[in-house]
């Protein structure tokens, strides 16, 4: 075994007599103290005796034919154990991908984006590996770069991928389009005739990075049976496994995977990064190989949020009722498909937002370009659409002379409303109520810098940079609301697996929960223990480290883990409970008639009747026996969207959040301080209220980031990334993070475990348009691009 940190787990939480720490309580994270004190072991902290360090050589150009690769000098470097290129791949499987296997493990004949992996090196020191990689000579013959819709669809456009054979190629109008999803309902032409006002808009959404703080890293250890054990920070162990094993030429049971400490993910770890490279080098050298990206490489090592161009037309009658919505959403998928098809599905199906509109004409496409590959990120296609449709709702309100919140409430969907896909919303959809709540919150006091205490520059735009003491500062207020699907959609078999074991240890009953769920910070390790305590009445619950020795848990994404793996844990607990009660009946059934007649519960380590009578201690029921169940659990099935009309029951559940942003803008310098970002969200049931609020505040902050600062800047002439560092890719600091009051609504979705609703993404949607709306309110500028930059507010521009 490597010197593997325990990843904060297994963790045992000892509870009191009445099975405290069940669902609905704000139990604390088992890894929380470790993380805030710097003691938590992340994947980059792993170490193994005799291990080598891997390093990846990446392309310096965005689009080129590879004329030659000379690894001679690199191989001759002292301390280098292996250098591998495409020619060294061991099997016929040389590509991987989440849905479309279009991504080469190592470039073959061509590179399609800046920073694409070309060769890998293993050496006895990370610096040696880096130096040796720099000695690999790659000769490129540059090709023209495809960077936008115009260049992608030009008649003479170079194809980013020739010979496509994926299942989308049949319905896309051009091979440089990954996927296209139209959604058409009603009669837009007729509805347009009824409109008293029509507003149009064109919007631009910049490329956001997940910016997780723990860069990509992992350790591959060769095993005696010819297999490999990979310790890895990922979002979905089994999805990685499915992609890794064929490239290595190993059966899946010879590729063992254990989750290492994950330092954030936000979608950026859904695709593979260094997994296959580390395994290849470990198998080639027979030694453990560790790869850790630095921040610079991390910007090239994972997909980003799709930048987008969005064209919208909204019509309404004079009383504010929407007549129709037309929109066209062009997402830039970059060089490889990644999650683009599913992002298109979300952007289109959620493209009009949480509003009731009968007549819609929506089209979303994702392009293949030579820009950095884009894929999953928190909010997943719904974010870009929300930014645009909420800007449109403000425009429409202004045109109608209506209050923007009222306009939204007039058109708010509710339970029973049909989505543009024709799918009825069959659980609570309190859109108008969320807006009412967020509007009703008290406003932060105005012009505090004029109070007797004087100006605290930290409360003003520019902060400690001391740019204003109140001069030029104007307040603005903006509202937005959004809709996000929960779980995997469009007919995907979205299941999870849980193994739950109950036994007696140290004289008391203990429960072990084993899943392959990736804990990426969302709090699954907290919630699973809470579910087990509630279902099994046992205080001591251990969360087993996540690995592939248990069935798939599905991805930690799409706001789905509490719903789906939480559902699987509850389901397995129920099966364990039945078995325990059977055991009890066998052993003690003759002592008390209630064993046969009453509804029995497990509570406080005992078997009790629903009337509260204690029948037996679990310690006695179990004796030396352990009860263990592993079972899969599924949510309701979904259907694909029709490729021509987009109709279909494609989604499992929706989640809704509304924001009110209060900003202060230094209108002369174009600097923004978000003073307050209030959120109201329906969470169905807050299994852990503290974690839920944390998710909402984190998601809101990530949305704020892409409103005012976060953008990967790609040079349109070269398709090269201009700011791959935290010096120039800025994320909010605590001084940029406002007060965030949160109002939780808990309206149960009866289809979901405990009535819960996925929480993590919805707040990321509406926070961006709320902040933009507030800045528009302060400046009077149209601001059709996010993120805004100071010069947009002062010297003109979008």
């Amino acid at each position: 075994m490597p010197d593997m940190p325990a990843n904060g787990v297994p963790t045992t939480l000892t509870q009191g007599l009445r099975t405290r720490g069940g669902i609905g309580e704000s139990t604390l994270r088992p890894d929380g103290t470790l993380k805030v004190t710097g003691e938590f072991a992340y994947s980059s902290d792993m170490w193994h005796e005799d291990m080598l360090w891997g390093h990846i050589l990446r392309s310096t150009v965005a689009h080129a034919e590879i004329v030659s690769i000379d690894t001679g000098e690199a191989l001759a470097t002292a301390g280098v154990y292996a250098v591998m290129t495409y020619d060294d791949l061991p099997t016929d499987v040389k590509n991987y991908g989440l849905e479309i296997q279009d991504t080469p493990v190592l470039a073959h004949g061509k590179v399609r984006h800046h920073g694409e992996p070309v060769a890998v090196v293993a050496a006895d020191h990370p610096e040696t590996a880096r130096r040796a990689a720099a000695r690999i000579r790659v000769e490129y013959r540059e090709l023209p770069v495809i960077t936008d819709e115009l260049s992608a669809l030009a008649p003479d456009a170079v194809l980013v991928h020739e010979n496509r054979d994926d299942h989308h190629i049949g319905h896309v109008p051009h091979p440089n389009i990954v996927h296209r999803q139209p959604i058409v309902r009603g009669d837009v032409a007729a509805a347009r005739e009824r409109a008293d006002v029509i507003v149009e808009g064109e919007y631009t959404f910049g490329m956001q990075d997940q910016a997780f703080l723990g860069p990509e890293s992992g350790l591959a250890v060769p095993e005696e049976d010819g297999g490999v054990h990979l310790y890895i920070a990922t979002q979905w162990l089994h999805s990685d496994l499915r992609q890794i094993a064929p490239v290595l030429g190993l059966p899946e049971d010879k590729v063992r995977m254990t989750l290492a400490g994950v330092g954030g993910a936000f979608g950026g770890r859904e695709d593979l990064s260094m997994q296959i490279h580390a395994c290849l080098l470990a198998l080639r050298t027979g030694k453990p190989v560790k790869i850790v990206y630095d921040r610079f490489e991390s910007f090239f090592g994972h997909v980003h949020r799709h930048p987008a161009k969005l064209f919208y037309e909204h019509g309404a009658t004079a009383d504010g009722r929407l007549t129709h919505v037309r929109c066209r959403i062009v997402l830039d998928g970059g060089a490889y498909a990644s999650a683009s098809p599913a992002v298109v599905g979300n952007a289109s199906s959620l493209g009009v937002g949480p509003y009731a509109v009968d007549d819609v004409d929506i089209e979303a496409i994702a392009l293949y370009t030579n820009n950095p590959p884009c894929g999953a990120m928190r909010g997943f296609g719904a974010v870009q659409a929300c930014f645009a449709y909420e800007a449109q709702m403000d425009r429409l309100a202004a045109r109608l002379g209506m209050d923007p919140v009222e306009l939204r409430q007039v058109n708010a969907m509710e339970q029973g409303t049909l989505m543009p896909t024709g799918q009825p919303v069959d659980s609570p959809a309190p859109v108008a109520e969320l807006l009412r709540r967020v509007k009703a919150m008290p406003m932060p006091p105005e012009r505090q810098w004029e109070s007797s205490e004087g100006a605290d520059v930290r409360q003003l735009p520019g902060g400690l940079s001391n740019t204003t003491h109140g001069e030029g500062v104007v307040r603005g207020v903006g509202y937005a609301v959004g809709i996000k699907n929960v779980g995997f959609s469009e007919g995907f078999d979205d299941y999870s697996t849980a193994r739950v074991r109950m036994e007696v240890a140290g004289g008391e009953p203990v429960v072990t929960v084993h899943t392959a769920m990736a804990e990426v910070g969302q709090g699954g390790v907290t919630v699973h223990a809470q579910i087990a305590r509630t279902e099994l009445g046992v205080g001591r619950v251990t969360i087993h480290p996540a690995d592939t020795r248990v069935g798939s848990a599905g991805s930690t994404s799409a706001s789905r883990q509490t719903y789906v793996t939480g559902g699987a844990v509850r389901n397995a607990c129920e099966l364990v409970r039945e078995r325990v009660l059977e055991l009890g009946r066998r052993r003690f059934g003759s002592y008390h008639p209630a064993w046969a007649t009453a509804e029995l519960l497990l509570e406080g380590g005992k078997v009790v009747t629903d009337g509260g009578e204690v029948l037996a201690d679990l310690v006695d029921v179990l004796g030396d026996e352990a009860v263990e169940v592993e079972a899969e659990w599924r949510h309701r099935p979904t259907e694909p969207f029709d490729p021509r009309t987009g109709q279909g029951n494609g989604h499992v559940q929706y989640s809704f959040a509304a924001h009110r942003a209060v900003v202060e803008v230094d209108t002369e310098l174009g600097l923004v301080k978000v003073i307050e970002l209030a959120c109201a969200q329906d969470v169905g049931k807050a299994l852990n209220p503290l974690s839920v609020i944390g998710q909402i505040q984190g998601g809101s902050t990530q949305g704020l980031g892409v409103a005012v600062m976060e953008e990967i800047v790609v040079d349109p002439r070269t398709a090269k990334v201009r700011n791959p560092s935290f010096t120039d890719y800025l994320i909010p600091t605590i001084l940029d993070t406002p007060t965030m009051p949160v109002d939780l609504l808990e309206l149960a979705d009866t289809h979901a475990p405990y009535g819960l609703r996925g929480v993590g993404e919805a707040p990321t949607l509406s926070s961006t348009p709320a902040v933009l709306s507030a800045i528009r309110d302060a400046t009077g500028l149209p601001l059709t691009k996010t993120p805004i930059r100071p010069e947009h507010l002062t010297t003109g521009a979008p």
């Binding site: 740019t467 174009g670 600091t733 605590i734 010069e791």
Partner: protein
Amino acid sequence: MDFLRPANWEEALAAKAEHPAAVPIAGGTDVMVEINFDHRRPGHLMDLNRIAELGEWEVGEDSVRLGASVPYARIMERLRAELPGLALASHTVASPQIRNRGGVGGNLGTASPAGDAHPALLAAGAEVEAESVRGTRRIPIDAFYTGVKRNALAPDELIRAVHIKKAAGPQQFSKVGTRNAMVIAVCAFGLALHPDTRTVRTGIGSAAPTPVRALAAEEFLTAALEEGGFWDNGKIITPSLAKRFADLCAGACNPIDDVRGTAEYRRHAVGVMARRTLTWTWESYRDARRPTEGAA
């Protein structure tokens, strides 16, 4: 790479004479970033951390002799009265952790136009104490910045200290970044009023290949204040005078478009900061002149 660890200043000078390409390192907040990114591979790194005197300062009659390695955090906490402009600039440097390590010597050694200390040093008036085995000299701050990331040091010289004029009047520092903390300057502006000599001085960061003073603006304002008797009568500075000063400061910029901002925006922002800092400093000056009534 060889790592030199001189035990005292004389050893450091000798080592620098022997290895003129050696890169001195104190807080490491600049040098280590360059090394980590592999942008720089010096043959020798010279650690100055054993030389305690570099972390000390002396407050003299007219000036402060600031050791090259005095961390920004100390300047903020201990020299706010004597060096108010530099103290404000220090507070905008990166994060608390970096401010505990980095010092003005590093800013000068790197001589990046974006270094936060430069506008404050230019505005206050300063001299860099450079020393080699050949001897000591004092380089006026105006002559120190010679090009993008280039300075007037000879290859065998080290920065021992900076002599900064003690504030005789109000000073201000403003910096525009696209985040409210921990941000590199898009552009920055320093202003110091010198009532003792009835002059004003300025410093502009990140808006030209080197940190620069807005000399025409200084001359204009110095003359206008003198002619109008402002220093004596304490009149309010008129908007038109402030605007002319701001325009001249903007005109002193020679900025570029880059990933952090446009040239046009930088010019504009320097003008706004010039106007505001002039108002703040002049209001302070007027407040200080006002007889304190009923003060305890």
